[in-house]
């Protein structure tokens, strides 16, 4: 692997959730190359979500270091997060939430815009563009709480894309989608990844389309990376429970 192209580098990273004794990530070392599309799979509670939250600095590791774009996440977290699009696993909102979906998508750009600066027409256009990509632009003026689970999930993906990120981290982004969207959205992500050349890490349970989705799959179990392979080998490792 060429060091110049490494955009994310985890070196012996261990993370523990506050109030817990057992580490959720254990000695994880992982390098992701610029523009790479990587899927992360593994059983429940294997550390997949923790891995994403550690990469974007929401969780602080108690051991090891994380470099993103050559900068240490510990010291440059906010600056780096402004360039990382993040689709969380838990996003469902209360039906009474007083937020329009366009506002939620626009929020993705707020860190990038900077404190004291106001979002302008260009930011609004970017937000609408990403909603159009996901075919939810007609929902832009609807309150977030009135959308279905699948629509809310698309809003969260649009929010991450509106940021024009260098890195896109997606945690189970297809779980609430209808069957048709489950087929189309991963294709869209792959297409956008090709077009915009951002580095993408997708955590998923759904392994049936891995072969066509990417060239690299990281398998996690019990907080550790147990395989880091091409999809066919990774799937075999996953089935073997290694």
């Amino acid at each position: 692997m060429n060091n110049r192209n490494t955009i994310i580098n985890l070196d012996n990273v261990s993370t523990v959730y506050e109030g817990e004794r057992r580490a959720a990530l254990r000695d994880v070392s992982l390098s992701i190359i610029e523009n790479e599309l990587v899927y992360v799979v593994g059983p429940n509670a294997s550390g997949k979500t923790t891995l994403l939250e550690t990469i974007n600095g929401l969780l602080k590791p108690f051991m090891g270091s994380i470099l993103v774009s050559g900068l240490n996440m510990k010291n440059h977290g906010r600056r780096l997060r402004a360039e990382i699009g993040y689709v969380p696993q838990d996003f469902m909102v209360d039906p009474g939430e007083p937020y329009l979906s366009i506002d939620v998508v626009m929020m993705g750009r707020y860190g990038k815009i900077g404190v004291l600066n106001k979002p302008d027409e260009r930011d609004r256009e970017k937000a609408l563009d990403s909603m159009r990509l996901l075919e939810i632009d007609e929902l832009s003026q609807r309150p977030m709480g009135k959308l279905s689970g699948g629509q809310q999930q698309k809003v969260m993906i649009a929010r991450a894309l509106a940021k024009e990120p260098k890195i896109l981290l997606m945690d189970e982004p297809f779980s609430n989608l209808d069957p048709e969207s489950k087929r189309r959205i991963p294709e869209l992500i792959s297409r956008l990844h090709e077009k915009n050349r951002f580095t993408t890490i997708v955590v998923t349970h759904e392994t049936n389309r891995l072969m066509e989705a990417c060239r690299r799959v990281v398998v996690m179990d019990n907080g550790r990376v147990t395989a880091d392979e091409a999809p066919e080998k990774a799937l075999r490792a996953l089935e073997a429970g290694t």
Binding site: R78, I84, P95, G96, P98, Y99, Y110, G145, K146
Partner: protein
């Protein structure tokens, strides 16, 4: 002495408007950021500070503000550093404030529950001075300016603090700012309704607005309007029924909130959808 009557009424009227705006605005953040317990602790912290001021013959307002700052500091950075949950720290600080307030009052038995102390406990609109009004106007200008300039950050944190942090926003800084501003607003509002009722002014207008509106930008405008209206209605009821102003304001404000829950279209839709 008619002019004095007008003067007192003018001040009462102005303070109802200014405090309605301030608590209506801050209430939106306190409710949406789930800082209710913090608001509760701050108001009692301000009460303890005012009691200290009365006991030591210092300006109760200045002491109340300093105490509120101290409580804000404990609830914000200190609790974060010590990794204490907001519920834990506020549950400890609330009785501590009350214990301190009663100790300050007991240490000076000649003062006891004199009118000065009672003013802080229950509020006294006739004791509002011109300086109080100047402080309120200044705080209104400062609060509105802060909200205007950092609205997008506050807007995002109110939606979801974790996501705002993931977008690169310094959420701690803005939450501390809201805690601090809430403390000052609470302190300056003590003379209107007193330390024991102030949180109703913080929570009721914002909670009422949230029963109807689906756009946070409208909530931040309507909540202060509700605050002003209920304060003025409370003042009017107090004058006509010869009852304490603070209690009347809280009764009106609570009734309006209860009514809003009954007729809330958002709530109806939710019930129908179930």
């Amino acid at each position: 002495m008619i002019w004095l009557g007008f003067d007192i009424m003018g001040k009462a009227f102005a303070s109802c408007i200014l405090i309605g705006v301030l608590t209506g605005l801050m209430g939106v953040f306190v409710v949406r950021m789930r800082l209710s317990a913090i608001g509760y602790s701050m108001s009692h912290g301000a009460f303890a500070g005012a009691a200290l001021g009365v006991a030591t013959s210092n300006n109760p307002l200045v002491c109340a503000i300093l105490f509120a700052f101290f409580v804000a500091f404990l609830i914000g950075p200190v609790a974060d550093k010590a990794r204490l949950h907001a519920d834990t720290i506020t549950s400890i600080i609330f009785p501590l404030n009350m214990a301190l307030a009663f100790i300050f009052l007991t240490l000076t038995p000649e003062i006891g529950l004199t009118s000065q102390v009672a003013n802080v406990l229950w509020g006294s609109i006739i004791s509002i001075t011109n300086s109080d009004l100047v402080y309120m106007i200044t705080l209104c200008a400062v609060t509105v300016s802060i909200i205007y300039f950092v609205w997008k950050e506050l807007f995002s944190i109110m939606y979801n603090r974790k996501l705002a942090e993931a977008d690169g926003i310094n959420t701690k800084l803005f939450v501390y700012l809201i805690i601090l501003l809430s403390g000052i607003v609470t302190t300056l509002s003590l003379k209107l309704v007193g330390g024991l009722l102030i949180y109703a002014l913080l929570f009721n207008p914002a909670s009422t607005a949230l029963q109807f509106l689906e756009d946070m930008r409208k909530v931040i405008i309507v909540s202060p309007l509700i605050g002003v209206t209920t304060n003025l209605l409370g003042l009017y009821a107090s004058l006509h029924l010869n009852l304490p102003v603070g209690s009347c304001i809280v009764l009106v404000s609570t009734s309006v909130f209860a009514l809003s829950v009954l007729i809330s279209p958002k709530r109806k839709r939710r019930v129908e959808g179930e």
